[in-house]
Symmetry: C2
Subunit: 547 residues, 2 copies
Amino acid sequence: MSSPPATHPHADGLPRRPVNHQPLTPLWFLLRSADVFPQRRAWVHGRRSVTYAECLERCRRVASWLQAAGIRPGDTVAALLPNTPAMLECHYAVPMSGAVLNTINTRLDAATVRYILQHGGARLMLADTEYRELVEAALADIPAAERPRVLWSADSEGPAPQPIGTDYEDIAGAGTPAHGMRMPDDEWEAISLNYTSGTTGHPKGVVYHHRGAYLTAVNNQLVWEVGHYPVYLWTLPMFHCNGWCFPWTVTALGGTHVCLRRVEGDAILEAIHTRGVTHFCGAPIILATVTEAAARLTEPLPRTVRVMTAAAPPPATVIEAMQAKGFHITHVYGLTETYGPAVVCAWQEEWADLPAAEQAQRKARQGVRYPSLEGLQVMDPERLEPVPRDGAALGEVMVRGNVVMKGYLRNQEATDTAFEGEWFHTGDLAVAHPDGYIELKDRSKDIIISGGENISSIEVENALYRHPGVAAAAVVARPDAKWGETPCAFVELRNDAGPVSEAELIAFCREKLAHFKAPKTVIFGALPKTSTGKIQKFALRERARAL
Amino acid sequence: MSSPPATHPHADGLPRRPVNHQPLTPLWFLLRSADVFPQRRAWVHGRRSVTYAECLERCRRVASWLQAAGIRPGDTVAALLPNTPAMLECHYAVPMSGAVLNTINTRLDAATVRYILQHGGARLMLADTEYRELVEAALADIPAAERPRVLWSADSEGPAPQPIGTDYEDIAGAGTPAHGMRMPDDEWEAISLNYTSGTTGHPKGVVYHHRGAYLTAVNNQLVWEVGHYPVYLWTLPMFHCNGWCFPWTVTALGGTHVCLRRVEGDAILEAIHTRGVTHFCGAPIILATVTEAAARLTEPLPRTVRVMTAAAPPPATVIEAMQAKGFHITHVYGLTETYGPAVVCAWQEEWADLPAAEQAQRKARQGVRYPSLEGLQVMDPERLEPVPRDGAALGEVMVRGNVVMKGYLRNQEATDTAFEGEWFHTGDLAVAHPDGYIELKDRSKDIIISGGENISSIEVENALYRHPGVAAAAVVARPDAKWGETPCAFVELRNDAGPVSEAELIAFCREKLAHFKAPKTVIFGALPKTSTGKIQKFALRERARAL
């Protein structure tokens, strides 16, 4: 189809101009809530809380300080923080300074943190004092000239509340209000940078832009039917896909962010009772934690609490147990590359008439696209054609639309590969049911999802290969009731190797990797291979499942 | 603030491309609902209804027919239809053909309809057979070469169900499915054209684009907290600002559109009872109609029915009476130039503790901006500076942002005047309260709003001036319990004029204008003038209020 001619009267003399075109950005949500709901609580944390008017003022101070510290539009500012007010406010203050927010998984090892800081080009890092050791180890190997400056946050609820130099709170809580707040010139400008473990050893930097963050934030409330003034508990780490964009969704609705430093079952239940929590998100591990704690509840919840959960579907028994206590579960699916959730198992009213088991089966599917995701197909990855919607034909989940990332930072090859044929190739295998709902059948073959964290099996294999006794290694996911999956290693030892124990290899990996990435299980023996010598991971996955 | 340099790594090699950038358009909503909710009812009308799968199929057939009929991207297609399925489907089918939808107020006189058809350059018009006389009169004076082709819709629920030639239903209900559906290349492309009575005699063509229609549709559900699957009753004419963008909002949520040809109190109550209606919108006249009918109800409504109302605030007594019956009122404000509502009287939880009278006072204010409206200020129109938020200082309501129109069609001067200083000057006078809520104090001095219709006082004055006995005329709004306002004319007769009666002047105007625009009251006498001879309309408004 061709465009209308440029001289058509509907376009004539009616260009975009400031009065009728502003870059879409979630920063507007805080400006509006500070204006419309100035006295509502923006966040609570322990005994502290601030109103929306105060929250905006704090963010503007931090943005101003960043600019004074030499941060320029487009610079990267990293954050290594738990779900504290500093982490929440970063989601506004950093882009308001013009910089790009790079939140870093606090469970990573020092070498990976260093890699991310260097690859992302961070010029400044905000870090919680609890992670002092990790930060210092990560910075030690960076040449002084490239080392980011560190601004510490000694959180009142943390184990290390002693400030180190100028503290985040000194800046946010006092000092000169901002004069230099900057809104993006273009909604395509980067707002954040999220590293993801891919199928290769090095994490890739997923770039988000203002437009996508705005649209995901708005669509979260649309698909989840979030009304005004939610009380949102921060169980999902904000370092995962910017907390699925909920720092922006909740603010748009004038809601209250309930910060939570440690995600524990009792703390969650307490927040539900004392803070009036109405919504929270989390990986299935969170649901398992909550279910365990809720089992001790003798009374139902004071109100329905809505829970959004992603990744592997929660077992039907978990869903049923939680619903009996008053939790309402919504199942979503997405990836770092889609700003978090972009597919939702939308409830169809007629399912209410189905037997419970069938209902749970329907709800366990990943579902249909968010309105903000223009395309979702299960496709033959070679021919880029949809597989039949028959619940049987396996294909790769492909997506396209406004909530697909800008691309991978400084990695044109990976970007082009992921975007081949103008579809984002998720690497996840699924079927499409006759009603169009997709159901994942296998995660991308090289990724293990443990407690909501992505683990690259290749990265773990690389660590194993560095042990002198290892001849061949293959790591696959082993299903686990608590963690969802754990890394399970199959190892073939060198003929000349001395005795090597499971515990020794695990300890060896823990030295080289973030602890959660180390295998939980090691099986010794010859690895099954194809005629061309390729390890048959499929067979190993079968064995791991049967363990 | 300067832009990040083009070579910054966050931008490097990461341009917009189809995989991650699609023009925002409400057309996606129908495609998604047909895919995700194929079996849900899209609309009901009398005994007829269609599913979302069928509705998409129908719209694609119509789009295809339009293309085959020679309609090209950017062409104008007019619609003179009540709130029938044809009118609803036009909101998808016409833009899917690439054309721009120009809905026309069915209460206008033939001369104005002709003006709109010619000014808008309509190449084709869909018209309900009930308006045959009006259409023929409007077309008669258009030279044959410029005359738009007419596609008639003989609605099953209308008074003239006899088809005239090929009927809309022949195309939508059968025929070849579409092959040429076109999505916009750019979200800035026009989607519709809405004529508004301004302060000058000729209506102005307000151009909407896909982006603004999408954002208003999404924000409607956000500010009104519309959950999934609303059952929406079409009391608001779709020819007003494209029904405030609700043809798109309701579809995005998989809701059901309940068409309604005649807006009468009993029909509304019947639809609430038999159709399961949950939401409707309307000018205060609708509320008055419903209140009157509801007064005869002996039982409360079967469910809470949410009502969005705009323009002049409903009197507190009306709000209270309706709420007692089970209606929940949300008060919004906007203009044709802002896609309908863009300001909402957002409810603040603490108002619940106020006495009823004070609550009603708060709710009667116009309120705060939609999240999609980036700027709302009450300003000194000369200096473009906000007036103090003291509830007393009068200023002009100014707005800017993504839901401000593209501009006025083929009227650069009016566009530039309206957008002076990069704010849209609404012409409405208001105060800003300390909490930031705005409250209108006077409609733009030359506009009378009667039963939800804009009447240009100058247009009425021009008609009066054509009477040989009239020396001077000024028309102002007179408050009216039923219509909100009615046109009230003050007339100074020529010294040499013979006797002229009120009835004679009213009849004279009804010949020249749409009937609803003719004065309801005529007062004879010398007009108060300033020293420079300008009529003091302010003084006349005072007098009209005291009548």
